[in-house]
Symmetry: C2
Subunit: 270 residues, 2 copies
């Protein structure tokens, strides 16, 4: 299909990748989004051949990363992925520390509480606690969102390295709703605003009728390593509510940062 052979040119990126492993990784992620898919479907979804998909699945099954269904026609994630996830959660100071914070955020705001980290030019939801209310926004760990839209994601962008900000600003800004930021000038103003306010309120930038409030999470180096936020339907998120939520979220984010070893700097900003 593609031929990324430019080893010596600008991006030495894939000089060391083991293609089969990368394909297997993609296959796993695809399978996570298409439970109970068959070989053919997965082959199509990942853009490879049936044979390869079959062999990758075979290999992954052997290692417990994938499970064949009883009637042997469909595949699902295997129990070993649970193990990885669990160990990962235990080992990650960020996630382990954030979990109780998410819980108390939900208690206080009664809305979904989420934690995002940056992965390249996307934000990845790595932890989440759902609102107890029946009307709530569907969210899931693993959700990938472009950095230029949404609350937590824009926070991540606001504090991301310049290269990343440039890359995002340069790239096309796909529009999900009429409110999605679509020009880099207003985006960069929004980012500046986030840095001075210390939080963000984003309304309907990804999905209409949803609103999110988010604030940065820092580690001992002072760098922003995650964004903590809540989201809910605009119907409930009146100005008064979001103003209160902003304080709650900021204080939760500061608490989390402190638990991660961050100490407020002398000038409050770098």
């Amino acid at each position: 299909m593609n031929g990324p052979k430019e080893r010596k040119t600008g991006d030495p990126g894939d000089a060391y990748v083991v293609a089969s492993v990368e394909r297997a990784a993609q296959l796993l992620l695809t399978l996570a989004e298409m439970p109970d898919a068959g070989v053919t479907d997965l082959a199509e979804a990942t853009g490879t051949t049936k044979s390869l998909t079959f062999r990758l699945l075979y290999t992954l099954e052997r290692n417990g990363f994938v499970r064949k269904d009883a009637e042997r026609r469909t595949y699902t994630l295997g129990y070993r992925t649970l193990v990885l996830g669990d160990q990962s959660r235990r080992q990650s100071q960020l996630i382990a520390t954030a979990e109780p914070v998410l819980e108390s955020l939900v208690e206080e705001t009664r809305e979904n509480a989420l934690l995002f980290v940056r992965e390249g030019t996307k934000g990845l939801c790595v932890a989440l606690r759902e609102s107890p209310q029946p009307l709530r926004i569907f969210a899931s760990v693993g959700r990938l969102v472009p950095l230029y839209a949404g609350g937590a994601t824009k926070v991540l962008l606001a504090y991301a390295p310049d290269e990343v900000q440039a890359e995002v600003a340069a790239g096309p800004l796909e529009r999900f709703t009429p409110s999605t930021p679509s020009d880099s000038a207003s985006l960069s103003a929004a980012l500046e605003r986030i840095r001075s306010d210390g939080y963000v309120r984003s309304v309907g930038e990804i999905e209409p009728d949803t609103c999110s409030i988010a604030a940065p999470v820092r580690d001992q180096t002072g760098g922003v390593i995650a964004a903590l936020g809540v989201n809910g339907p605009t119907a409930r998120m009146t100005d008064a509510v979001t103003d209160a939520a902003a304080l709650t979220v900021m204080s939760a984010a500061a608490g989390l940062s402190r638990a991660l070893g961050w100490r407020p700097g002398p000038t409050g900003m770098g």
Copy 2:
């Protein structure tokens, strides 16, 4: 280490395995047990070369399955593994259904509650809820235990296909404690006992001074797909306590089975 090259002989097992993917899988599992390890350590631990390990890590990092530490000298599981684990948990009816059962088991018994599935000739802990008491057995999702020793594991063995039972009985029975079953005759008697009692009590077979009670979990086909159990220090697990716990565990296992679609057969056993 080994050289499984017998493609055409008895076991056509690894005819389809993609070696690099298998190695990557092993690497991930190794990393789960050796957080913050470096390239050299991991290479040694997985029995491969530095170059290969480096490239696998590079590839996995690219896909978010591993993360390099700030100073770029150590590796950890990445956030994408969280995603897989989370999706896997949501998608697995067994795990999703078992979680509340584990919770109520802990409430009732005040001991660790665990769920095991069989993976080859080992039992794998796939879900767990810890005892609220300070003195408790250390347990973790991902723990692999041979089927011939321990509570939940022996339950799995008791209902495993004949080939598996034969393989385990044939293989060497490594002794972890003086109580570890060590001859296949008494093991097979113990399994028979489990099948007629519908539960098992295992004392100190893996670790001294620990005791576990477990019972089988069935799905709609009537097959045993998991074992549910509790474990705790023998100091607390007196006969009276374990007798009560046996009933609690059996009823929890039956409830879980029912939730999974199992219906008690006319004769109660097949």
